[in-house]
């Protein structure tokens, strides 16, 4: 289910050229803010939770998920070069699984690691805030990558739809309709963080850990399976 050559090509597509710079901007900004806050001696628990949930988990992780998830397959379908990959004796679900593994690895490397670092810069090991948010970012990356990889195989406008989900659904609609927050990857991640963090910190996740874990698993597995199905029946169309 894992093909090293496909993986190598996907890594190169994701981290080559300007995309890597785009991916690195957000973590760099997070670390910069964390360092400045620490140097100015403003860092306490509330600030750390605010920065890590408001900026890292709400903005950085979904955006990196969109870039890595759709970027793993979208451009190839777009410019038609996927036919060269599909014409090789590699099973299409294998291609999807490999690309998912790469997308997850990239998303985790560019989101969970900086979150962990930023957490340690801000409050050190206090209340396990850093570890909790890093784990939240880790699980959120998994679900986001599967979701946006699927989008990449379903529509040519994957980036737009991915951003609509990440920005509109999770922030705007979530703030208007509390029910929508149950179906938000960000809240599932927050549920994980809520479980790990020491009892002194309140995170107000809208979902409890059980349903969150189930939903993450379902989204990841079902998304990957359906993306494989989509790739099996993929037809190539010219640009509009």
């Amino acid at each position: 289910m894992y093909d090293p050559t496909v993986a190598r090509l996907t890594y190169r597509a994701l981290l080559g050229r300007r995309r890597a710079a785009l991916l690195a901007v957000l973590p760099a900004l997070l670390l910069l803010i964390a360092t400045v806050v620490r140097v100015m001696d403003l860092a306490d628990q509330d600030v750390a939770v605010n920065l890590l949930s408001g900026f890292a988990l709400a903005t950085m992780v979904p955006l990196i998920g969109v870039i890595a998830g759709t970027g793993a397959i979208g451009p190839e379908i777009d410019d038609g070069s996927i036919v060269y990959l599909l014409s090789k004796p590699v099973k299409r679900p294998t291609i999807i699984v490999t690309k998912l593994v790469v997308a997850v690895a990239v998303t985790m490397a560019f989101s969970a690691l900086p979150v962990l670092l930023a957490g340690f810069i801000l409050v050190g090991g206090d209340q396990q805030i850093a570890v909790a948010f890093a784990l939240a970012a880790l699980f959120a990356s998994l679900a986001y990558s599967a979701l946006f990889l699927l989008l990449g195989t379903v529509t040519r406008h994957a980036v737009v739809f991915g951003l609509v989900y990440a920005l509109l659904w999770e922030t705007l609609i979530g703030s208007l309709m509390p029910g929508a927050r149950t179906l938000s990857v960000q809240q599932w991640g927050l549920a994980v963080a809520d479980e790990v963090v020491a009892s002194g910190v309140r995170l107000d996740a809208d979902v409890s850990l059980g349903p969150a874990a189930v939903l993450i698993a379902v989204v990841t597995v079902a998304g990957t399976w359906y993306a494989g199905q989509r790739l099996k029946v993929l037809t190539l169309a010219g640009e509009e």
Partner: protein, 309 residues
């Protein structure tokens, strides 16, 4: 073989063969009116503005702009309906706060439409075809900029008009509502100019498909979330931090607009702690708005110097 009068030089015995003859196949010269540069500029503006809503394009291209436009107007309709039904004496949403309330929708619209307007011309190398018409670089840039700004203005001003109509139907104070609407329209006009400039510059610099969309969203949202988070932390710390909130707002397009309208148009401040920028900061807001508009124009002009022919 007789000499053909329509084939001058052809068919006579002193030419080596028929291959060398020049045929007059009856092309006619154009003698109608030449509509000129102004007409071409207006056409490009109108076509780009219509393109901003998918008019004159395929049904699939209409979906995104029309859907976003719908999302933009629905809250206004709901607010109006609730306000009339409950008979309040003031709209629950300020005209000037409406655009910042729906900033993600505006961002998505810009991200979807700015690449549509300029990236495709660059990607398919059709820009030289425009310049084969009697227009100059400045006409192309101005028409595209004006069209994008006008499309954004329609996008942001129509919901305000809906609110206004609702306010008048609900028999709220006419003078106050009209004054607030006018200020609201000024605020969305400034927003349209600034955002259109940012969107077009990013789209013109990243003609690759999908990349422009992501880049515009990134430019609009990442600084916004970063700035609001830092502002929050600064305002929590009190003292100098509260003053810093106003200055920090300069660092992202979204907070720039919030601070600008809070300072100059009397809008309720979005900043943490309801901070309004100081006079010195306010001057910087004004200068930065002007610099962004002028700067976008200059960058676009420079961009098309290279892409011209």
């Amino acid at each position: 073989m007789q000499a053909d009068p329509t084939h001058p030089g052809g068919g006579t015995s002193d030419t080596p063969g028929h291959a060398a003859s020049i045929h007059n196949i009856g092309y006619r010269s154009y003698e109608g009116a030449r509509l000129g540069r102004g007409y071409a500029r207006r056409s490009l503006f109108a076509q780009s503005l219509r393109g901003g809503y998918g008019l004159g394009r395929s049904a699939r291209s209409k979906v995104t702009p029309m859907l976003l436009f719908g999302i933009m107007c629905v809250p206004a309709l709901v607010v109006v309906a609730v306000a009339i039904a409950t008979g309040v004496d003031e709209l629950p949403v300020d005209y000037r706060a409406y655009a910042s309330f729906l900033a993600p929708v505006i961002g998505l619209y810009l991200a979807a439409m700015a690449p549509q307007s300029v990236s495709r011309d660059l990607r398919f190398r059709t820009v030289p075809l425009y310049f084969s018409r009697p227009i100059e670089r400045v006409d192309y840039v101005l028409a595209k900029y004006a069209a994008m700004a006008a499309a954004l203005f329609v996008f942001t001003a129509v919901p305000l008009l809906v609110l206004y109509a609702g306010a008048l139907l609900g028999e709220l104070d006419f003078a106050e509502q009209t004054r607030d609407l006018a200020l609201g329209l000024v605020s969305v006009a400034v927003l349209s100019l600034v955002y259109a400039g940012i969107g077009l510059v990013v789209a013109a610099l990243t003609p690759r498909r999908g990349f422009g969309v992501a880049a515009i969203i990134a430019v609009l949202t990442i600084p916004y979330f970063a700035v609001t988070t830092v502002q929050f932390i600064a305002s929590e710390s009190g003292g100098d931090g509260t003053a810093a909130v106003g200055w920090l707002g300069l660092a992202s397009p979204g907070t720039l607009m919030s601070g600008f309208q809070a300072k100059f148009l009397g809008a309720p401040s979005d900043f943490p702690g309801r901070v309004v920028p100081s006079d010195a900061a306010g001057l910087c807001y004004l200068l930065l708005v002007l610099a962004l508009v002028a700067g976008s124009y200059a960058v676009l002009m420079a961009r098309y110097r290279k892409a011209g022919l």
